[in-house]
Amino acid sequence: MSKSLSESTVIRARHLVKRFGCVTALDGLDLTVECGEVHGFLGPNGAGKSTTIRAILGQLRLTSGALTVLGRDPWREAPVLHRRLAYVPGDTVLWPGLTGGECLDVIGRLQGTQDRKRRNELVERFELDPRRRARTYSKGNRQKVALVAALSTDAELLLLDEPTSGLDPVMEERFLTTIREVQTDGRTVLLSSHILSEVEALCDRVTIIRAGRTVVTDTVDALRQDGTSFDEVFLAHYRDAS
């Protein structure tokens, strides 16, 4: 794995603003993700999580604000950056005429650091039939393709946007195991999720956002220091912000 140790902050976002016409999706959002951590990214529907991830990917042009990923500007240097990161969308749409195996190879090869051995191991682990056409896949199977494609690369940063939506409990458990392995490797993960138990189990630090703004960033332990459950912490911050 080619990790640059000099970059302690992997994602640094300051006062991000993104407007789509009269709709403000990001309204001064701040986010800092440190090297080697699994960072939870929480917020209600429409809070701006996916918009932030698309900005990190360099697919959206920000209205204002400063964003660096692995020390680079994602809008200007996307291809160089993308060789060092991998992405799992929340609702994976695959090429219906290709098989699952072809889809995950296309994604992996366009990323550029696919490990064939790891790919085959993950296909087994997630019980994916790679010979079936993508059009015949359920939502969970489409999600597995994107997960296997991302996790079989040598990427330093994994951007996971609700990666377990559609997965059954057994596959969710295997996902947790796999992310712990990734964590042990020292790789960085930004995990956007609505499943609070998943975030609590995996994440070192958490950022909660609402209406395009950061509500709080802290460690999971610090957030629940008075003995409250993580669910209650999230709901309390949600209520305070509204």
């Binding site: 698309r54 990917l57 697919q59 959206l60 042009r61 996307a78 291809p79 160089v80 993308h82 060789r83 990161l85 991998a86 992405y87 969308p89 609702d91 994976t92 749409v93 695959l94 090429w95 219906p96 005429g97 290709l98 098989t99 195996g101 072809e102 889809c103 190879d105 296309v106 994604i107 992996g108 090869r109 366009l110 990323q111 550029g112 790679p130 010979r131 079936r132 056409r133 059009r135 015949t136 994107a146």
Partner: protein, 522 residues
């Protein structure tokens, strides 16, 4: 039958463009052709010459079907609607039958609908009813248009009616294909195979004047004699074909699992080929079907015309009206006709390929691909390059087929070089059409369907400018006209250079625009 009326209301609310748009476009084609023909053959003598030339040609029979009642203006109009009508009407029927059932099932709409108080069989029944309504709209608008032009009153009713019955039969075939195949793409391919087989079968039977006109439904419209003494068996046959197709479709719909089909699905490769993981490999894999499809149409068209070139030239020579309208070198006129249409088919290839890029972006797949180490500039330029190369491949494949067919039928090898050189003249319009479609996609992927509108006009100019007696200024809106009617006329080099410059500017603008905007989905 539970839920049929609820579904009909849903279809009318959500699919009215599909239900009304093609019906009006087809009615417009019929009425516009009739209007043009009326002006071209105003006298009884002109009609007799038409019947003696166009109506007596085996090549014409193979192409347009048997001409009947050609001494009447209605009969000539029906003959001129010819192969366009024979192909477009069943295609619209298939679009309705498949678009209202399998395509919606694939999108998950039918899952949602049938979770309410709606029976599975209500879906094809409701689609049949609204599809029939669409054909009634077509028949009534055509009837009103023909009547307004002063055509025979009875024919104004019988001709649109037999065309509508033809369309209804293929709506039934579309419903059946939608039940047989597991995906809408497979259903469209199955339907297209049936249409091509029907056309080839009809061309063989009519071209050789065989008596077995019952073999292909495409012979039945003429056999009904809508502008003469009405014959009932074709109308009843259309209804019978529709009834059988719908009955089988309903039987399948009542028994199969939602989301499944009858035709088996084969397993594919477990890994991708090395080329598929590159922007060019991915673009080619996703667009090769449409490129092969349009190229096959161009090659079939050019081969057919090339083999019949001598006879068509003789028909034009023997028909003073046609000769006056088309020009004084009939063999060159045939080449121009073939190459302009091939150029338009090549433009269709280019638009289809670049439009797929827009469709990929709207489906969020471009975002997934661009999350890799490929720059958006590279992805865009590679895809645009594939679009231009595919379009030119269609153009030169057609020209090659035309030249070889003329060589085989006429014995002169010189035609091959002539047609390939002439095709070079049409490269500029083909590239311009493709690049302008690319500019629209670069501005917004939602605009990609707009690119087909000008090509539709260029097709009308290329196919029917004489029949519709279009004024010169309106013909010059087509870049295929601007380069000159090559090889009948010399290439207009100034126009060619201007078209290339316009294409270069459009390409640069598209690249800048795509590079500077956000992806619409990712």
């Amino acid at each position: 039958m539970t839920g049929v009326w609820r579904l009909i209301r849903l279809y009318v609310q959500t699919s009215w463009v599909l239900l009304v748009g093609p019906a009006l476009a087809l009615a417009g084609l019929v009425v516009a052709t009739a209007s043009g023909v009326k002006g071209l053959y105003p006298t009884a003598d002109a009609k007799r010459v038409y019947a003696a030339t166009m109506g007596a040609s085996p090549a014409g029979w193979a192409f347009n079907g048997r001409g009947v009642d050609l001494t009447k203006i209605g009969g000539i109009a029906a003959y001129e609607v010819g192969f366009m009508g024979q192909l477009l009407i069943p295609v619209v029927g298939l679009l309705l039958g498949i678009g209202l059932t399998r395509r919606l099932e694939e999108a998950g709409v039918i899952d949602l609908v049938t979770s309410g108080r709606v029976a599975r069989t209500a879906v094809p029944i409701a689609a049949l009813i609204v599809g029939t309504g669409s054909w009634v709209v077509f028949a009534k608008v055509s009837e009103a248009g023909l009547y307004a032009l002063g055509f025979d009153r009875l024919g104004c009713q019988t001709y649109p009616s037999i065309l509508a019955l033809y369309g209804m039969a293929f709506t039934g075939v579309g419903l059946l294909a939608g039940q047989l195949a597991q995906g809408s793409r497979g259903a469209y391919v199955l339907g297209a195979v049936l249409v091509v087989a029907g056309f080839v079968g009809r061309a063989y039977v009519d071209g050789r004047q065989l008596r077995q006109t019952w073999i292909s439904p495409m012979s039945w419209v003429a056999e009904a004699h809508p502008w003469g003494t009405w014959v009932w068996w074709p109308a009843l046959s259309f209804l019978g074909l529709e009834a059988v197709a719908v009955a089988v479709a309903l039987a399948i719909a009542g028994r199969r699992d939602l989301g499944s089909g009858v035709l088996p699905q084969r397993l594919g490769r477990g890994t991708a080929s090395a080329a598929l993981g590159t922007p060019a490999g991915l673009a080619w894999r996703l667009t090769r079907g449409s490129t092969f499809g349009w190229t096959a149409v161009a090659v079939i068209w050019c081969t057919s015309i090339g083999l019949m070139a001598d006879e068509m030239a003789r028909i034009i020579r023997d028909n003073p009206t046609l000769a006056a309208a088309l020009g004084d070198d009939p063999s060159q006129v045939v080449s121009v006709m073939s190459l302009v249409i091939t150029g338009i088919l090549a433009g269709a290839t280019g638009i289809a390929v670049i439009s797929r890029f827009g469709a990929e972006e709207q489906a969020a797949r471009t975002g997934l691909a661009l999350a890799g180490a490929v720059s958006r500039l590279r992805m865009w330029l590679v895809w645009s390059g594939i679009a231009v190369i595919s379009a030119l491949a269609t153009l030169f494949s057609g020209a090659l087929a035309l030249g070889v067919a003329q060589w085989v039928s006429g014995g002169s090898r010189a035609t091959l070089g002539r047609e390939l050189r002439a095709a070079g003249a049409y490269t500029a319009p083909v590239v311009l059409v493709t690049v302008v479609a690319g500019l629209l996609v670069a501005m917004s992927p939602r605009l990609r369907s707009v690119a087909w509108l000008p090509l539709g006009w260029f097709a009308v100019v290329g196919l029917m400018a004489e029949a519709l007696r279009l004024p010169r200024w309106s013909r010059n809106l087509s870049p295929y006209e601007l380069v000159g009617r090559v090889p009948l006329e010399p290439l207009d080099r100034t126009a060619w250079v201007w078209l290339v410059l316009a294409a270069t500017v459009a390409c640069a603008a598209a690249t800048v625009r795509f590079g500077s905007r956000s992806l619409v989905r990712g």
